[in-house]
Symmetry: C2
Subunit: 87 residues, 2 copies
C-alpha cells in the first residue's frame, strides 16, 4: 500500500481533532503548515466569491497560488468543495 494511503487510513481512524493537529505538527514543518493554512484560506475565499486579486492582496500571496486553488475548485466533484460548503 502506498504511504499516502496508509497515512490517509490513519487519519480516517483518528477521531479527535487535537490528535490530528499533533499528527500534522509531527509530519510538517511550521512554514509548511503556514503554507497549508494559506491554501485553505484561499479555497474558502474563492468559495465565498472573492476575486482572485482581492484574495492575493489580502493574504499577501501571488496570483499563481490563487489560480492553483481555483483550478482545484473548477472540478465540481472536488472533495474540497464538499467540505467548504459545510460551514
Amino acid at each position: 500500500m502506498s504511504e499516502i494511503n496508509e497515512i490517509s487510513e490513519i487519519l480516517s481512524k483518528i477521531k479527535n481533532t487535537e490528535d490530528i493537529v499533533l499528527f500534522l505538527n509531527e509530519l510538517f514543518t511550521g512554514s509548511e503548515l503556514e503554507d497549508l493554512s494559506k491554501r485553505w484560506r484561499i479555497l474558502k475565499m474563492l468559495n465565498a466569491g472573492e476575486t482572485q486579486r482581492d484574495i492575493a492582496k489580502e493574504l499577501g500571496v501571488g496570483l499563481c497560488k490563487v489560480t492553483r486553488g481555483a483550478k482545484v475548485l473548477k472540478d465540481n466533484n472536488a472533495i474540497t468543495r464538499k467540505y467548504l460548503r459545510r460551514k
Copy 2:
C-alpha cells in the same frame, strides 16, 4: 479558529480513506506528497530500529531529514509513535 484546526476537524470527520486521499491530493502538490511519503517511511524504518545511515542510503535522502524524523520519535508521547505501533 486557526486553519490547521479547521482542516484537522474536517479530516476527523471524513470516514473513508479514499476521500482523505482525494482531499490530500487537492491540498498538496505531487512532489509534496512524495516528500510526505518519504517522511512517513523514515518514521516507520526508524521505528523498526534501522540505523539512520541505512535509511538515508535506502531512501536516497539526506541524514538531516532522517534526524528530523528521529527528533519526532524522541518524544515518547509523540502521536506518531502511537500509530506506528498499530501495524
